[in-house]
Amino acid sequence: MANKTLDITREHCPMTFVKTKIELAKLQAGDTLEVLLSEGEPLENVPRNAVEQGYNVVKVEHVEGTTHRVVIRK
């Protein structure tokens, strides 16, 4: 169970990244953030950027339609 859920399915660039970054910065070590996002640019880049910034991407799964769930741990 993630510590917090962030839904960015209705957001567009750059707020998809901005909102994710702000929530990730609030995590304590070991906490997880569940991000609901759309396929395309958010799905391609949010997990990749999280890894580049030193976070662990625990899970990437399809939810429904174009929505996917990414779980990121600090």
Binding site: R10, H12, C13, P14, M15, V18, K21, N45, E52, Q53
Partner: protein, 159 residues
């Protein structure tokens, strides 16, 4: 760990649409881990004024008049389709309708993300402004040499 990537933007324009590009690129880069520096000069200084609307700020009658005519962030015109000032209102409405961040939301995000905001010393003096006329998030007032030093080793854009 590799050295942090860096993006430095010279924000020369005071146009609503071009400032939207400045803050979209800046916040996007900061959100993916870049160090971001924005150097506001000339018309671009409108984006970082404390007074968001029109105000007679300046050191003499001419610069106070210019200050009023230029205005702050909420008075910025669009570079095209300004329609006597209606353009930015139309674009703000379109942005909200399409769930795209407005210029004001992007500026707020820039503050939260800790983007480094700088004012150009020369332009500030020409327009009769002081550091106190700018939002407190403006880190410093700089000249060209300091900006070049800050932007060294990264990518630089002029907007």
């Amino acid at each position: 760990m590799s050295e942090q990537k860096k993006l430095s933007i010279i924000a020369f324009s005071g146009d609503f649409d071009k400032l939207t590009a400045v803050f979209t690129l800046g916040t996007g880069a900061a959100a993916v881990g870049y160090e971001v520096n924005i150097f506001f000069t000339f018309w671009g200084l409108d984006a970082i004024k404390q007074k968001k609307g029109r105000a007679f700020i300046g050191s003499n009658w001419l610069t106070r008049l210019f200050g009023f005519m230029m205005g702050g962030l909420s008075a910025t015109p669009t570079s095209r389709f300004n329609f006597g000032g209606a353009g930015p209102k139309i674009f703000r409405s379109l942005m909200r309708k399409n769930n795209v961040a407005t210029l004001e939301e992007l500026v707020d995000a820039a503050k939260v993300l800790g983007i480094n905001l700088y004012a150009c010393e020369m332009a500030m003096h020409v327009l009769g402004l002081t550091k106190e006329d700018f939002i407190p998030e403006v880190k410093d007032v700089l000249g060209v040499a300091s900006f070049l030093k800050l932007s060294e080793g990264g990518q630089t854009l002029f907007i």
